[in-house]
Amino acid sequence: MLTAPADIHSPCSHPSGSLVIPKLSRGQLHEIHLSAAALATAMAFAFTASGTPAGASMPILLVRAPRLAGIRAMPFGEGLAGLGIDPARLLLVEARDNLGLLRAVLDGARCSGLAAVVAETWGPILEYDLTASRRLVLAAEASRVPVIVLRGCGVTGKRAEPRASAAHTRWAIRPAPSTALEARAPGPPALEAELLRQRGGPSGMRWRLVWNDEYGCFQEDRASGVAIPLQQPALSGAVVPLSPLRAGPAASLAA
């Protein structure tokens, strides 16, 4: 049964002129583009930006194909605990190839008892086309589970080109320099999130997010003032729904 997507922020302008960052809403498919060294940052964003308070103890399904990974890394339980995610919630599935990975993601999307399904993919995937993503969207809407597909650069350095897909939002996540603590120690982790595409909403914005330990999630860094809205505030009086903007050419994607 198709329901109207929840958690979407209408494109009314924020008093300061910038738009509020949309969450990785439940029951939708989201894509995140990243480079190999941004794996931890993007994974933390995927795990924490989709949280619902009630789902704080449900398992998180992480599907990987380790042989095709751009970097040989494995999730570290103590690090996840530091992010406020109980490592016992992580359910790790290792597939042999991309087809097995997509099938496992589809099975996970149909299970309503999961907090999120995160797929870690590298390089361009032939099998992940419009039909496959549409199937994922249908499964996610039925079970209200957020499905997040991370698309990283492949082993040979080939970028995962953004293809036509039924995803609700498409992001590019890059780590950002943090504000230093005393003695030049690294401060709370920061990242730059660029919304490349949003179905039924504006896109093209960039936010600088900083990790907030109290709330256990990334929050906008208002102090820095880096948020650059790319469109003008709405005209007075009428609230005009803006047509979704296509992302510009991939020059903004850092390798």
Binding site: A40, A73, P75, G77, L80, A81, A185, W211
Partner: protein, 476 residues
């Protein structure tokens, strides 16, 4: 050289006492119940191990299962005996004595045996007498009274069961209690002493035979589903669920094909098992070849666990249960398709070495364990193995100022550390006097682009002349 005397010790009260001794220890004069300190004083070469209280009953149950070979009526005779009712079974092994000899050999333990017409008499004979004795010549200990009552009997001059039997029962009952008289009469054969043989539960089986062999896949799957319904009825009657299901397809030329699925939680409903079997059939290397057709399909449920009937909830609280069962079904399906080694959970290990502090175990093996809370800053991803980098750092324990990884130069703008992680010196027999391994100094660094890494220097400058640097983890 004779083996050292061996004893099992258990804690009773404040002292460690011997719970069991072997023959060599008995020859040295050690007895059950003696304190371990006294035993060591008498016999300095004593080897002792802590007693596992659950091991003996388990071994006895296993032995009882093996004794079913001789007779179907086998009962436990606690704490360390078995009662076999060999009425009508002795001719299979020749005579009763031969049956007993074969049973001794089968048991494998050092054992004694005795024959009698009644179970209580057999028990008394084997524990307090010998196989050929007359029951009335047994000492009064055979009635198994507490020690003060026994001393009372001895003071009264009653030494054997024959003496007791000559006394009027009413007087004995008044003095020593009804159950003493009841046991005495059971040993003498005046009252019955039935045994309760253990019955192995009948295995869950269902079978279908076909007059005409069937070859089409839909027909085979429909037949299997019918057998699953049958097995579900049997399991529901016993309130159990199956953890492993085995299907045997018999071709009409005699060849047999087998399929098996395992689940994480006990299941009764046919539909999830059918889905798992479908996954198993899809993941077979060669497709099922029916030949000229299957004429026999059998289903067995070798492994079962208790499963109570689930109350269908009318309120929304049912969602929690369906969610957990949904996750369990997902784990089963992915395990059947990808293999148990590819659907994993994280389990903690009690060590401070980062790469050894966790291990992955198949999710189907059990629920997740609780992770201890830790306040250390650790990376979200660990590189396996740590990647070598070339770094420039200030001596002796300054953080790296720049490093090169995979051909790319990273300028470090922020750094925190060092955190010293030393090797586990306690594994070494020499202990902390030996180097053991190289100490690692970990640094959390951030480069100009904002990427945060966990790098370490392998070895202190005192330990190694030219320590190498490695990249071990990626921070958020």
């Amino acid at each position: 050289m004779a083996p050292a005397p061996f004893a099992l010790v258990a804690r009773s009260g404040n002292a460690l006492r011997l719970a069991a001794v072997d023959a060599a220890a008995q020859r040295q004069g050690l007895t059950v119940g003696m304190a371990l300190a006294d035993a060591r004083a008498r016999c300095p070469a004593l080897v002792s191990q802590p007693q596992d209280p659950a091991a003996a009953p388990r071994a006895l149950q296993a032995l009882a299962a093996r004794m079913q070979r001789f007779t179907p009526m086998v009962a436990l005779d606690p704490p360390d005996g078995l009662m076999l009712d060999i009425t009508g079974c002795a001719h299979l092994c020749g005579t009763e004595a031969e049956l007993a000899a074969q049973a001794m050999v089968e048991a494998g333990y050092t054992a004694r045996h005795a024959f009698a017409d009644h179970a209580a008499a057999a028990r008394a004979l084997v524990r307090y007498g010998s196989a050929e004795q007359d029951v009335r010549a047994l000492p009064v200990m055979a009635v198994e009274l507490p020690t003060d009552a026994l001393s009372g009997l001895r003071r009264a001059g009653l030494v054997t069961l024959g003496d007791l039997a000559r006394r009027p029962m009413a007087g004995l009952a008044a003095r020593f209690g009804e159950d003493m008289v009841g046991r005495l009469r059971a040993i003498l054969g005046e009252a019955g002493s039935p045994i309760a043989p253990r019955n192995a539960p009948a295995p869950i089986r269902a079978e279908a035979r076909f007059a005409e062999p069937i070859a089409r896949t839909e027909d085979v799957l429909a037949a299997i589903e019918g057998l699953l319904h049958d097995a579900a009825r049997q399991m529901e009657a016993r309130q159990i669920g199956g953890r492993r299901f085995a299907v045997m397809l018999g071709r009409c030329d005699g060849m047999r094909l087998r399929l098996g699925v395992e689940t994480g939680l006990p299941l009764r409903a046919p539909a999830p098992v059918m889905r798992l079997l479908q996954e198993r059939i899809d993941s077979l290397a060669d497709p099922l070849d029916p030949g000229f057709g299957f004429d026999r399909i059998a289903l067995a449920v070798p492994r079962t666990e208790p499963l109570a009937a689930r109350q269908i909830a009318l309120t929304g609280d049912a969602h929690a249960h369906t969610d957990t069962s949904c996750v369990a079904a997902l784990i089963d399906r992915l395990t059947t398709r990808l293999g148990a080694g590819n659907v994993l959970r994280l389990h903690p290990r009690d060590t401070h070495i980062p790469e050894a502090s966790q291990h992955f175990a198949p999710a189907s093996q059990g629920p997740p364990t609780v992770w201890p809370a830790s306040s250390l800053l650790r990376p979200t991803f660990l590189l396996d193995p740590p990647q070598p980098i070339t770094a420039l750092a200030g001596v002796p324990d300054g953080p790296p100022q720049r490093f090169r990884w995979q051909g790319q130069l990273h300028e470090v703008t922020r750094a925190e550390g060092p955190e010293r992680i030393a090797p586990e010196w306690w594994h070494d027999p020499v202990g902390h006097h030996s180097p053991g391994g190289l100490t690692r100094d970990y640094y959390r660094v951030e480069d100009a682009g904002g990427q945060r890494f966990w790098v370490f220097r392998h070895g202190l400058f005192d330990e190694r002349a030219d320590p190498k640097w490695y990249l071990h983890g990626l921070f958020v």
